[in-house]
């Protein structure tokens, strides 16, 4: 005999899903509206109708002609890729050293690393800016990238978990085979970390791509800056050209959406495996 369920019980999943649908709509609506608006001619911008009677690519043409979008995307890509690669190098070396070479100091060091996550970035930004300025790195790639390598705590913590999950016997076997510590890292640990490294790299890449405050401070010059800053400069320069602005915003989102489409699975997997959700 199956138990008779209270009729309200059956409604619970319905209520849950309805709530989620509302939340998703609330989150997706502005994005979709921006996308739709970017195809509207200037006189339809303020119209409530989602689709214009005369959709146009004028906004895109204008943006591509007047705005150095390729340069800005290039700058942003160099920054995001540089930070991702740099953080991975630091985090891999750190995680490997912590797990395999410092059994005693690992605990305290990991606590410090975790604490560093709690320091608000705003508290660090003035000293970091002063140092960057004194190094003469304003308006350079180095100024955009190097200071952002310090905030690699999350990458370190994630990779420590994955290095720990590799069987100890693998590294022991490699040592018995005569591998130096670096060879153990290169031939045994790195191949085992490949999925985790991909996930962390993509995560850092996306976060850095969306970074606003730091590029605004160290690289404000129009031709050296990133798309995020470029967008505000576009807005300031073009006044109330919302069609153009939203076209520009759509263009700058495309790379990150592409990256995410390819990578979302890996990112979720890496977080699930490490037990951090």
């Amino acid at each position: 005999m199956s138990r008779v369920r209270h009729p309200l019980r059956r409604l619970a999943p319905v209520a849950w899903h309805s709530t989620l649908v509302v939340v998703v709509i609330a989150m997706v609506f502005p994005v979709v509206w921006a996308l739709l608006t970017s195809f509207k001619p200037a006189n339809d911008i303020y119209s409530i109708a989602p689709f214009s009677a005369e959709p146009t690519l004028d906004n895109y043409a204008r943006v591509l002609a007047d705005w150095p979008v390729v340069t800005l995307l290039g700058n942003t890509f160099v920054m995001a890729a540089g930070v991702a690669v740099g953080q991975i190098v630091i985090a891999v070396l750190g995680a490997y050293a912590l797990v395999h070479f410092s059994p005693r100091s690992r605990g305290p060091i990991l606590v410090l690393v975790t604490i560093s996550l709690a320091i608000p970035p705003q508290a660090l930004i003035i000293p970091q800016f002063l140092m960057t300025a004194r190094l003469g790195w304003l308006n350079t790639d180095a100024g955009l990238i190097v200071p952002q390598l310090g905030t690699c705590a999350l990458a370190v913590l994630l990779l420590v978990q994955h290095v720990e999950a590799l069987p100890r016997s693998l590294t022991s076997a490699a040592r018995l085979d005569g591998a130096t510590p670096f060879e153990v890292l290169w031939h045994i640990v790195l191949p085992g970390l490949r999925p985790a490294i991909a996930a962390v790299a993509i995560l850092v890449f996306i976060t850095t791509w969306n970074e606003y405050l730091w590029p605004l401070l160290v690289s404000p010059r129009a031709e050296d800056t990133t798309v995020q800053i470029g967008l505000t400069q576009f807005q300031t320069a073009e006044g109330n050209d919302y069609g153009g602005l939203l076209a520009a915003a759509t263009l700058t989102s495309i790379p990150i959406i592409v990256v995410y489409l390819f990578a979302s699975r890996r990112i979720t997997d890496a977080f699930l495996q490490s037990g951090i959700k």
């Binding site: 016997s169 022991s172 076997a173 040592r175 018995l176 005569g178 191949p191 085992g192």
Partner: protein, 358 residues
């Protein structure tokens, strides 16, 4: 499953020297816990030495110290009278097979086996092995272990038995003087374990290197060892041939650990005695005990093992086990069993559990 049937050149190539190992006052502690407590141990050259003991007795730690993966807290390790205590793992002529086999998952069987030699070639371009050397040695060992068909496979595509043989191949390909095996059979199912045991014994005969095998399975230990070491709480309880340890256990611990069913113990006015379940003769109804140690109890459980029955008996608050062979009167639960153990087969122990008399 293929068995080891090497061609003649493979056999010749696989031959290797063997080394004698010696541990002197070896202590290993992790923080406050002592894993090895001043262990003195001699492992004869060319032997198949089996180290056996309950979990946590330090047997795996001995392997890790012998291999150089762990450094001893104090004491020394000698290979053929040369102290290697401070030597790095890769510099010792020692190979190891891990309990989980530790095959490099992203490398093929061939790459797994040749990894050590490829590293050597890279480290030392002049005196390291050439590509042809590596290929030849890999061929020799895969022929010896019947892995020729599997060279291009990844470990994930292999069965448990195949993985074990790849791990063995990787360990012996450079003909080490000493081969360490950490519970190499425990990951296999019971049927495979029996044939793998036979293969290991054959392999020992073929390559002639000193083998040190660690296990918690006393049956495996007794059946394979040319030299048997029983460990307890970080110390060597006794070492010698399997037969010596079985016939003349030096302590109650060894007596209870080695042999199945476990030895029976009883307290008598003259001290504590032990006797093996197979050494008691069950008496007929009218038969008198005569000379020897007499036992009497009630049959509690009867276990049929195929060629004999194990009678688990109760006598007051204590229990004992007797093996009943064919031809002796069939016993059932509730029957009273009387038996006698000849004095010559009794083992006497003092209060500390050490063997007394002879």
């Amino acid at each position: 499953m293929s068995t080891i049937t090497p061609s003649t050149p493979a056999r010749a190539a696989a031959r290797t020297g063997s080394a004698e190992l010696r541990l002197e006052a070896l202590t290993k502690s992790y923080g406050g816990t002592i894993a090895l407590d001043a262990v003195d141990l001699h492992i004869p050259a060319g032997s198949l030495t089996v180290i056996v003991g309950p979990s946590g007795c330090g047997k795996s730690t001995i392997l890790r110290v012998l291999s150089g993966l762990e450094t001893a807290t104090s004491g020394d390790v000698y290979v053929d009278d040369v102290a290697v205590t401070g030597q790095a793992a890769g510099d010792r002529d020692v190979a190891m097979v891990f309990q989980d086999y530790a095959l490099y998952p992203h490398m093929t069987v061939e790459q797994n086996i040749s990894f050590r030699m490829r590293l050597r070639a890279r480290h030392d371009r002049r005196s390291g092995p050439s590509r042809a050397d590596i290929a030849r040695q890999v061929r020799d060992v895969t022929g010896l272990l019947g892995l020729d068909e599997l060279l291009r496979r990844k470990p994930a595509q292999l069965s448990g038995g195949q993985r074990q043989r790849v791990a063995l191949a990787r360990a012996i390909v450079h003909r080490p003087q000493v081969l360490l095996l950490d519970e190499p059979l425990s990951a296999l199912d019971a049927q495979l374990r029996a044939s793998a045991r036979t293969e290991l014994l054959r392999l020992h005969r073929e390559i002639e290197s000193t083998m040190v095998l660690v296990t918690h399975d006393q049956h495996e230990a007794l059946s394979m060892a040319t030299h048997l070491v029983v460990m307890d709480k970080g110390r060597v309880a006794q070492s010698g041939t399997a037969e010596e340890l079985f016939r003349r256990p030096g302590s109650e611990f060894v007596a209870a650990f080695v042999g199945s069913p476990a030895m029976n113990f009883a307290d008598t006015p003259s001290g504590r005695v032990g006797w093996r379940a197979t050494d008691a003769r069950i008496l007929g109804d009218a038969e008198r005990a005569g000379e020897g140690f007499a036992v009497e109890g009630v049959v509690d459980v009867v276990e049929f093992t195929g060629d004999c029955r194990h009678l688990l008996c109760r006598a007051g608050s204590s229990t004992f086990t007797i093996v009943q062979r064919d031809g002796e009167a069939g016993m059932r639960t509730g029957d009273i069993v009387r038996a006698v153990v000849p004095d010559s087969l009794l083992h006497h122990f003092d209060q500390n559990g050490n063997r007394t008399h002879d």
